[in-house]
Every structure is written in C-alpha cells, then in structure tokens.
C-alpha cells in the first residue's frame, strides 16, 4: 500500500502532459506577441494580456509546480490569501489618476 501511495504521490502525471503544457505556454506567448504586432487598442490589449498571463501562471503553478496534485489543504492555505493580498493593492490605484493631474507629471 505504501509503495502504491508513493507512486501516486510522485507520479500523478507523465511527461507527456508536461510537454503539452510547455507547448501551450509557448503558443500563448506567440499570440501575445502577435497582439502587440497588430497594434490592438491599449485597453483591449491590457485585458487580453493580463488574462493570458493569469492562464499561463495557472498552468505553471498547477502542472510544473505540481500544485494540482497536492492536498487541497495546501492549495487553500497558499492561494486564496495571496490572491486577496494582491487584489488589495488595487485600493491605491485610483490615486494614480489624481497624480496624473499634478503639474509635475505633465
């Protein structure tokens, strides 16, 4: 039983999936560069790039960093608090519009 569990813990995915993830990461990168080349409007560009970056980050964390195959305890300890803390930074963001009105930034 211990040996079977060992296999399960260390080998939940084969290398095939990892190559597949790598190809997806490269494909998303190429598409991002394509958007930059096509000169997409800035706001659409920002949303598209951030969306794809989050997908790429999720792929890296889930597969390369193996988090998809760890206990849910670990995932719930690490990820939600981190995401909330990062989002809380946005509290200050509207202030940058005020800063833009100041003469020093014109």
């Amino acid at each position: 039983m211990a040996a079977a569990a060992h296999e399960e813990a260390h080998e939940p995915v084969g290398m095939r999936v990892m190559y597949f993830v790598w190809i997806w990461l490269l494909a998303l990168t190429v598409f991002e560069v394509f958007l930059a080349y096509k000169q997409v409007p800035l706001h659409i560009m920002l949303v598209a790039l951030m969306g794809m970056s989050i997908v790429k980050a999720a792929l890296i964390v889930a597969y390369f960093m193996h988090l998809k195959f760890e206990r849910l305890n670990l995932v719930l300890t690490l990820i939600p608090a981190m995401v909330v803390a990062i989002l809380l930074l946005n509290t200050f963001f509207p202030d940058s519009a005020r800063l833009g009105q100041l003469a020093i930034f014109r």
Partner: protein, 224 residues
C-alpha cells in the same frame, strides 16, 4: 494499518498513505502531506509573489499617472529578443521538470545534465537581458532620466527587471549548488523538486513582466 507511533516517524508520501484513516489535524502528522522544506519554499514563493506584485503595481500606478510614458521597444530587435528570452525561460522550466522527473524515478545520471540545461537557459536569459540593459543605458536611460518621455520609466524598469534578473541569477547559483550536491550524493529528489519550485516561480514572474512592461510599450513607429 500503521499505528500512531509509526505514523509519527514517517515523513513525506508514506506519512500521507499511513494517516489516511486518521484525522489530518490529529497531531504528529503533516496536514499538508509535504516535507517541511517544501512548505518553507512555498511560503517564500507566496511572500515573493507579493514583492513582485508591489513592484508591478508601482509600475502600473506611475504609468497610469503619466501622460508621456515612453514606448522604447521596437518589434525588432527589442520585442524579438525579449520573446527569445521568454522562450529560454519557458524551456528551462521544461528541462527543470525533466530533472525532477528523473530524480524521482531514481535515474541518477540523468539529473545533473538536465539541471545544467536549466542553468544554460537561465544564463542565456541573463546574457540577453544584460545586453538589453547595455543598449538602453547607451541610449541615455538612467533610473532618473531617459530621452523618450517620463523620467519615472527608467527607475521602475530597472528596479522591476533588475529584481527579476537578481532572482534568475540566484536561481542559477542555487541550481549549481543543488547539482553539485546531487553529484556528491548529498541531496535527494525532494531537494531537486524544491529548487524546481523556485525556478518555475522565477519563470512565472516573467510571464507578467514580459507583457506588462514590454508588449504594452511597443514603439509603433513615429517617435517615442
């Protein structure tokens, strides 16, 4: 089923197998089912992600406030080279996965070559990035001024990418140490896996810097 005393002695995957019938929070066993070193690296990664988030946020904040943000990156050569840098990092993550894969399967001889391949990817990134810094500095960019627009661009760019480069450099040294220890049979598969977590995280950070700093500041012709 293992008794509680045996369970308490177990670490890693064996512990998770033996304790499945016990409460995870009963004490004496790991509620996360991972070695403490790996948990330590995960906690470091979470805190480091907040550091980079703050730097990226600072960049976005100043850029949003600016009416004259520079767009110094031309598709050729800047974006082409930074795309190649992205390819180097993504591929070095794949070679890192291969190193961990072989370490966990006990293929001792295959681990160091893949770790070296990973380090080569990191060094290629550093060389290309260093060259890019050299070009920008030669064009007159400093942390306090640049010839294209808002002076704050230099400070935020050098801080953000410099911090990331420092992490890549640290990662290359870290992998070198781990590879040497593996060759000397002083590190195990868990150590390789933990160094992999760090390396993938450095790759992950670049997945945000590359689009937000480079692709959002492409020079579309017609001056800066």
């Amino acid at each position: 089923m293992a008794n509680l005393a045996d369970v308490a002695k177990m670490t890693g995957p064996e512990a998770s197998a033996g304790t499945r019938t016990l409460s995870l929070w009963a004490g004496g066993v790991s509620p996360y089912g991972i070695p403490h070193k790996k948990l330590g690296m995960w906690l470091f990664i979470v805190s480091d992600s907040l550091t980079f988030s703050a730097l990226l946020f600072g960049y976005a904040y100043l850029r949003n406030a600016s009416a004259n943000w520079p767009h110094p990156f031309h598709m050729w050569p800047s974006i082409a080279v930074s795309t190649l840098m992205t390819f180097c990092l993504l591929s070095s993550s794949l070679t890192m996965v291969l190193a961990v894969h072989h370490a966990q399967r006990g293929n001792r001889d295959k681990v160091v070559p893949w770790l070296i391949a990973t380090m080569v990817g990191g060094i290629a990134f550093l060389v290309l990035h260093g060259n890019e810094w050299r070009v920008l500095i030669e064009e007159g960019m400093t942390p306090r001024k640049n010839p294209w627009g808002d002076a704050m661009f230099g400070g935020t760019f050098f801080t953000l990418t410099g911090m990331h480069m420092f992490h890549v450099l640290t990662g290359v040294v870290y992998l070198g140490v781990i590879a040497a220890r593996w060759a000397g049979r002083r590190s195990d598969a868990t150590d390789i896996e933990i160094s992999g977590l760090y390396w993938h995280f450095v790759d992950l950070v670049w997945m945000f810097i590359f689009p937000l700093v480079y692709l959002m500041s492409v020079n579309q012709g017609g001056g800066h």
